[in-house]
Symmetry: C2
DNA sequence: ATGATATTTGCAAGTGACTTTCAGTAACGA
DNA sequence: TCGTTACTGAAAGTCACTTGCAAATATCAT
């Protein structure tokens, strides 16, 4: 656990929605933490490997985002098409569906992605 | 409707799964159709604008894909993590869920993305 | 503490998937 | 067929990453 890695983690701890590497880098810069963007990418990747952080990709959002794993259970997101605000959703209704799909396609399902986009209350 | 645009459409017509611009370009090259990759991108974008073609992005697949719209109704896909094979899924169970999410978040839902990945029968 | 080994870092350069610019070419309408 | 408009190719640009490499930090056994 190096100083930089600690800094990356602490930014994630202070954020309520998933951050992109660039957003994370900009926050560190604002806090006068000297760190290279590449190091942010690498640390996020390492933290993901350690299981401390989850990587995700949202619908219509051309970059990866990361959030702390810490006790949070499997969930999905909705993202505002206008201002980009991201909000967690509580439920995931796909357990039954997964079984149906395995039967229909003979695939073994490993993973799914379910993301919504729309307009948040402020942008409607 | 130019010669090139016709060529792009005809490749899409002869394919059963959504193609990326690069895949489409390579098929045209194999058929000795002289066309610039940029033109493929632009034609796909135009066809999307005309409503003839649907653009989609699959889970864990870092590029856009396009398929003919032509009578096909809203559906989702499953993609093999090993060989990349893509198969259509028949049902979309998200109508009720959308209403619940609108109530929970006060967002107006405009769109959703639901993609599965796993291992196809051959790759298991 | 100290030196050996392994890991992490910054910088520069490279990739891949688009996007933009611009000048030349092809299509269509009056 | 002339003129306007849309389309095309080539080159360069952008954005989000990824890789190579040498220098700086950590970690660990002694």
């Amino acid at each position: 656990m190096t100083r930089t890695r600690q800094a990356v983690l602490s930014v994630l701890e202070s954020t309520k929605y998933p951050l992109s590497p660039t957003e994370l880098y900009n926050r560190l810069k604002k806090q006068k933490v000297a760190i290279d963007p590449v190091t942010v990418y690498r640390n996020l990747d390492t933290l993901k490997g350690l299981g401390l952080v989850t990587q995700l990709k949202l619908h219509q959002d051309g970059q990866f985002r990361y959030e702390l794993r810490e006790g949070r259970e499997h969930h999905h997101h909705i993202r505002c098409k206008s201002c980009g605000r991201i909000v967690d959703l509580l439920l995931c209704p796909l357990k039954k569906l997964t079984a149906m799909i395995e039967q229909e396609t003979r695939f073994v399902v490993g993973d799914h992605s379910l993301e919504f986009s729309g307009w948040c209350p402020k942008c409607q």
